[in-house]
């Protein structure tokens, strides 16, 4: 029997990046916030301190900071014709746990998406005609413009002390930056990180080919930094332990370092750790939610937490699951194309090619997760797709990420998998190779969606979220194109050996690390028939319920999604200040 607790003003499910940003805006205006987070707090433990922070086996290979798959995983089928099976140990994407969420073990790569991304359907139809988007590719506008989000991008970059080089300040293209960048009011708060040797080789090659290379924008601090809230970052040590790790130098921008210390000082703020939300209580007739139920994982006791406003700020999959379980909003039906919850589930396409330089000291261990160089010429809709049989594209990047010895080695094609020749190849090439990667778009498809698994349950007896997902024709063709462009850059770089550049093809492989950027399932939009939440992230069928995070993005671009996720969260924080004062449709 659940214990009923005292009603709170705003309750946020999930204590990660979005909860931190929303809470910052709300508590600054005196509005009380309660955050419920299923995990604990990993900071100041072995994960963040030398020497154990540098343990690749523990944190990287064994996923020490990632969601425990024994407790909760997702099931997958590649099409509706197949039966689903649970992914028993996921490697493809890695949700976080604990205060700060996945933004604690993230790498720190911080993009703004293209100016047209929030109006992607309008953009593609105006450029290529009304029939250019195949019927099954359910790209849609977000109902909010980049211009409306710009000030929130700007604020987020200041809060997180992002290091980078602007490419477009107020419409003026900046040398050394990304000429395809959406216009920004200001330069990045900090200068870009140092380039690696690989970055220098790639930059010179790209320039020779007429492209405009630029340094990656990084949540790895290029210097010491104090943000507008007085929170500090140390200087990056280029140790290469970023993705899947906590930063021992306090140089990686995380909610745990930059948001929660401020919030914990504010009397309006409370976070309850080790509290796993089981469900949202829905008053269907009143079109409102009344609160949430959660399990205290330290005692096993169940609580009912009434709230004036509920915000779902959990990982992509959990936001969809909570809506599906509570029956809030119509479940998506791929047969009719009707319904919204679970719709537009997207992953992110990626491919790579290895380059081997016997005479260059690449030293892959002298790098951070974000000390890369990019070209954006073949990303998204930055190039003309007239006459091409696909939409979308990818950013091409040289990023060493740290050369960790278990997973960060490269050997030339044809090398045996063990024995003296294998060892010799590792000895010869470890310090003399790097990879180019293409991180590319994944546009929504009618047959890619989320729902609840009919058979498999989590440790709490609740259904797993089921993915029905595979790489569709548009993404396969796109990856083929972008991967060939990447291969051509690799061939021009002067490497002695260029490995095979293999485009991303189906079936979607859960065993291979690709990208943690799963998006969609509870998408935003101006039309309730094709969106779960409004452009203000307010649920169409429960006016005091809001959803935020990657789950509201209706497509995935060829960029890491943290930038738009953060901008939307800060904007939601401001919207909620208005909403609490005058509860109505925003």
């Amino acid at each position: 029997m659940a214990t009923r607790l005292k009603k709170r003003t705003v309750v946020i499910v999930g204590g990660g990046l979005t909860a931190g940003l929303i809470s910052r805006q709300l508590t600054a205006q005196g509005i009380e916030v309660l955050v419920l987070e299923r995990g604990g707090n990993s900071s100041n433990g072995a994960a963040e301190k030398l020497p154990n922070q540098r343990d690749e086996l523990r944190w990287d290979v064994r996923q020490g900071l990632v969601q425990d798959w024994a407790v909760q995983t997702y099931s997958l089928r590649h099409s509706r014709k197949e039966a689903s099976l649970p992914v028993r140990r996921m490697e493809a994407f890695l949700p976080g746990e604990g205060r700060g969420g996945a933004a604690n073990h993230w790498t720190g790569i911080t993009w703004r998406w293209a100016e047209y991304d929030p109006a992607l359907r309008t953009r593609l139809e105006s450029r290529y005609g009304k029939t250019a988007i195949p019927a099954e590719v359910t790209v849609q506008d977000w109902g909010v413009s980049y211009a409306e989000l710009e000030k929130y991008h700007d604020l987020f970059e200041k809060l997180f002390g992002i290091s980078g080089k602007a490419g477009n300040i107020q419409g003026r293209i900046q040398p050394g930056g990304n000429p395809f960048e959406a216009p920004r009011q200001n330069e990045y708060p900090q200068p870009a990180l140092e380039l690696t040797e690989a970055g220098i080789i790639f930059k010179q090659t790209a320039e020779k080919l007429g492209y405009k290379p630029f340094p990656m924008a990084a949540g790895n601090s290029s210097g010491t930094y104090t943000n507008p809230d007085g929170m500090k970052l140390g200087a990056c040590q280029y140790c290469g332990h970023c993705d899947r790790f906590l930063c021992e130098a306090k140089a990686k921008s995380t909610p745990e370092l930059l948001l929660y210390p401020v919030l914990l000082e504010r009397p309006q703020f409370e976070i309850r750790l080790n509290c796993h939300v089981l469900g949202v209580d829905y008053d269907r007739d009143g079109k409102r939610v009344t609160g949430v139920r959660y399990l205290d994982l330290l005692t096993g006791e169940e609580y009912e937490q009434p709230a004036d406003v509920v915000v779902l700020g959990a990982f992509t999959m959990t936001n969809a699951k909570l809506l599906l379980m509570a029956g809030i909003g119509e479940k998506y039906d791929p047969v009719t194309g009707k319904g919204v919850v679970g719709r537009n589930f997207c992953y992110q396409s990626s491919s790579l090619v290895n380059l081997f330089f016997p005479d260059r000291w690449i030293n892959p261990f002298l790098a951070s997760g974000c000390s890369g160089v990019n070209i954006d010429e073949f990303n998204a809709d930055h190039f003309d797709h007239s006459g091409l049989d696909f939409l979308g594209g990818g950013a091409i990047t040289a990023n060493l990420k740290g050369g960790l010895p278990i997973r960060g080695r490269r050997v030339p094609p044809g090398t045996p998998r063990w024995g003296t020749k294998w060892k010799q190849a590792n000895a010869d090439w470890y310090a003399h190779s790097f990879a180019l990667t293409a991180q590319a778009t994944c546009y929504p498809h009618r047959e890619n969606f989320l729902d609840l698994d009919p058979s498999y349950t989590d440790a709490y007896g609740q259904p797993l979220v089921r993915m029905t997902f595979d790489w569709q024709q548009n993404e396969v063709r796109m990856s083929e194109y972008v991967t060939r462009k990447m291969e051509a850059v690799a061939q021009a770089a002067g490497a002695k050996i260029v490995g095979p550049a293999v485009p991303r093809r189906g079936p979607f492989d859960t065993r291979v690390s690709q990208s943690t950027h799963v998006v969609g399932g509870t998408v935003m939009g101006a039309d309730p028939r094709t969106s779960v939440v409004s452009p203000h992230l307010q649920h169409w069928d429960a006016s005091n319920l809001f959803v935020v995070g990657a789950s509201v993005l209706p497509h995935n671009s060829g960029y890491n999604p943290t930038g738009p996720i953060a901008a939307l969260a800060l904007r939601l924080g401001d919207d909620l200040v208005r909403y609490v004062g005058k509860p109505d449709m925003l």
């Binding site: 030398l50 020497p51 154990n52 540098r54 343990d55 690749e56 086996l57 064994r62 996923q63 425990d68 798959w69 024994a70 995983t73 997958l76 590649h78 039966a83 099976l85 649970p86 992914v87 028993r88 140990r89 996921m90 490697e91 140092e194 380039l195 690696t196 040797e197 220098i200 200087a235 040590q237 280029y238 140790c239 290469g240 332990h241 130098a249 000291w361 030293n363 261990f365 002298l366 000390s371 050369g403 010895p405 278990i406 080695r409 998998r417 063990w418 024995g419 003296t420 060892k423 010799q424 590792n426 000895a427 470890y430 310090a431 058979s455 498999y456 349950t457 079936p507 859960t510 065993r511």
Partner: protein, 247 residues
């Protein structure tokens, strides 16, 4: 640099003596047990800076250890780059992983119902990794006796290498599960981890694989190195440091 020139070779030197003493027998399960027996209580620690040498298996039985030791010695033969796999701690690493959280299925979703699926859906058997490893060892051992007429550890290194390649290529069918998936999905990753993990876990003894790569290890505070040694040989790569060096 050859490992023999390194001063921190106490345990390896010791194991080599044991191996020489047992030269008539195939390098097998008895080696580590023998090492444990010979290690007299009053023997001085052979490396005052490091932990006591790991001897004795926590998970593997004698036959299993025999297979694993022979396998890691084929996959990592003694050569100018490293000592053999056993002396590099690879069998101990694998044993410790099987005996620990990983082997017992930590962080692995283990609820039924159980059904085979496409490889891309990942591991779908009800066994823990430890059980799976051992079931595969037994099946591979049976296949070896059937197809070669010998136990795996009795094969010559060349024969054993061919046998492992055929395992990896999933040439042997008819068992309860694919031996190719077993080898590629469980055994091979453990082998790579044994080579390149921090020596804390029993493999990569004396950081020999890090020296082979030129990976400098800890503390990896490279803010200045990043500029000074960009595009140049990094001196620290010759003398890597591990967690034990900072503990």
């Amino acid at each position: 640099m050859t490992p023999e020139k390194n001063p921190e070779q106490g345990r390896r030197g010791f194991l080599k003596q044991v191996a020489l003493a047992a030269v008539s027998a195939p390098l097998g399960a008895n080696l580590v047990a023998a090492a444990a027996d010979v290690a007299a209580p009053n023997q001085p620690p052979d490396n005052a800076a490091g932990p006591a040498p790991a001897v004795g298996y926590a998970s593997l039985g004698p036959d299993e250890a025999g297979f694993v030791e022979a396998m890691v010695n084929v996959m990592c033969p003694a050569d100018p780059l490293t000592p053999n796999g056993v002396d590099c701690g690879l069998a101990i690493f694998i044993d410790r992983q099987l005996a620990g959280d990983f082997g017992r299925g930590a962080r692995l979703y283990r609820q039924g119902p159980w059904a085979p699926g496409r490889p891309e859906l990942g591991y779908q058997l009800p066994l823990t990794p430890e059980q799976y490893f051992k079931a595969g060892l037994a099946a591979a051992g049976d296949v070896c006796r059937t197809t070669r007429g010998k136990r795996f550890e009795e094969l010559s290194p060349e024969e054993a290498d061919v046998f492992l390649q055929e395992l990896a290529a999933d040439k042997f069918t008819g068992g309860h599960f694919s031996l190719g998936e077993w080898f590629n999905g469980l055994v091979y990753p453990l082998f790579e981890q044994a080579c390149f993990s921090d020596p804390l876990y029993g493999g990569n003894t004396n950081k020999v694989f890090w020296k082979m790569l030129g990976y400098p290890g800890l503390p990896a505070t490279h803010a200045n190195d990043m500029v000074e040694f960009r595009g140049k040989p990094y001196p620290g790569a010759r003398d890597p440091k591990s967690i034990a060096d900072f503990s």
